[in-house]
């Protein structure tokens, strides 16, 4: 290896090492987060590092609050709330999938589902259904159904059945979209009728028209 290669390797690895030591993102905060909030946020992120929890959601929350000019005390509370959700998420994962160290991505996904209002028992039930799969899609599907006023237990039942019939990953989101479409259909269906209709079509729920190779719409165009 030439001296040039050694120098290049050193330059490339040094920042990675620094970031890894300080929790993978704290270096992005100075200059963007108000100085008054920075020490408290640093300590929250340090706690996450000490507990082997993912820090990226906390860094993102701090950046978000700063961009929105949230006052320092509320900003710190928002980040602290994120830490509490991460702790709760890991506890749920540990119960649902015992004997395994939960991956950081799974912890973050469960915390995001809790932030969307899913209850612990519903999350735990869905995690138990597919312990080795990334939990994000099924949890978002459940949150979508509940946000559209479907009964949480009935929504979970439908998703478990869809999973048993072979639907995986983002296809579970289509189950929630199909249920919502059934609910919106002219003529009026009750939520339980809409769920029954979707259950009858499993596993052949349609892919929504808003999802194509040309893009997933962040927002739906007005008709």
């Amino acid at each position: 290896m030439t001296w040039m290669q050694v120098l290049t390797l050193a330059l490339l690895t040094t920042p990675v090492g620094l970031v890894a030591q300080n929790g993978g993102g704290v270096t992005r905060l100075p200059g963007r987060v108000p100085a008054a909030a920075l020490p408290a946020i640093d300590s929250i992120i340090a706690a996450a590092v000490a507990e082997s929890l993912p820090t990226e959601p906390l860094v993102q929350k701090a950046l978000e609050g700063s961009a929105k000019n949230i006052p320092a005390d509320r900003l710190v509370n928002g980040v602290r709330r994120g830490l509490l959700q991460l702790r709760q998420a890991r506890a749920i994962l540990t119960r649902a999938v015992p004997g395994q160290v939960p991956p950081e991505g799974h912890i973050a996904a469960v915390a995001a589902a809790l932030a969307r209002g899913l209850s612990g028992p519903i999350v735990e039930r869905l995690l138990t259904m597919a312990p080795t799969e990334p939990p994000g899609p099924v949890l978002h599907a459940a949150a979508d159904l509940i946000a559209h006023h479907f009964d949480p237990d009935s929504a979970a039942d439908l998703l478990v059945e869809a999973h048993n019939k072979g639907l995986r990953g983002v296809r579970l989101l289509d189950v929630a979209v199909a249920a919502d479409h059934e609910l919106q259909r002219p003529g009026g269906r009750t939520p339980s009728e809409a769920l029954a209709h979707v259950r009858a079509m499993l596993p052949n729920v349609p892919v929504p028209a808003s999802v194509t190779r040309r893009g997933t719409r962040g927002s739906y165009e007005r008709p």
Binding site: A143, L173, S219, Y220, R222
Partner: protein, 211 residues
């Protein structure tokens, strides 16, 4: 000029037989005869004469090739190419290419998403707005990276970008100061800062998972 021996002159004139000459004169006689024979021979045609002769010959019939065959032959024929590089220009070209490749996606000028990425499209109805941009977890909540545009001035602002598959929270920032959740997003999550404000939620599907 050296005088020629009389006996040799007589032999050359045919008045004396060559065998009557002494040995040295006999050799000289033989060389002179050879030279005379060479001079007497028909001289070869000049280069110009040979070229003209070739031109005057009737054309040899050649097999005509179509343009496609000629193109294929031209493409298939190996050619020596000499490339001379100036390091400064090469470096500038590399920097330019890297800058182009790192440009964010906008409709009509985008990059192809990878297997674990998807295209996210944003539409917002903001009549009278001077600017609309999307700020979210995918750009570290930084301003100035994803602007929407309203080319026909109908109040409908559009834009898109390639994002990693998964969940992304975002908001619209209108006229650089007004933070607005996407009213058409369909998914929302409390932003956690205690004022009841909601972020819009986008779930990007990986291109590999699309039918």
């Amino acid at each position: 000029m050296s005088p020629i021996d009389l006996r040799l002159q007589e032999a050359l004139d045919g008045e004396r037989g060559p065998g009557e000459l002494p040995a040295d004169l006999g050799e000289a006689y033989a060389r002179l005869i050879s030279a005379a024979q060479l001079l007497a021979a028909t001289p070869p045609a000049s280069v110009a004469a040979r070229v003209m002769a070739a031109i005057r010959q009737p054309p040899v019939p050649v097999q005509t090739e179509g343009p496609m065959r000629r193109l294929v032959r031209w493409l298939a024929r190996p050619r020596a190419v000499t490339v001379r590089l100036r390091p400064a220009w090469t470096l500038a070209l590399a920097v330019g290419l890297a800058a182009i490749l790192s440009l964010p996606f906008v409709p009509g000028f985008g990059r192809t998403p990878g297997a674990a990425e998807g295209v996210a499209n944003f539409v917002g109805h903001f009549p009278g707005a001077r600017s609309v941009e999307v700020v979210g977890s995918f750009n570290n909540w930084s301003r100035g990276t994803l602007h929407l545009s309203d080319h026909d001035h109908d109040g409908v602002w559009r834009g898109g970008t390639v994002l990693p598959a998964g969940q992304h929270e975002y908001m619209f920032v209108v006229d650089g100061e007004r933070w607005v959740p996407d009213p058409l997003a369909g998914r929302y999550v409390d932003d956690g800062f205690g004022a009841g404000q909601q972020n819009s939620l986008l779930i990007v599907r990986p291109v590999a998972a699309l039918p």
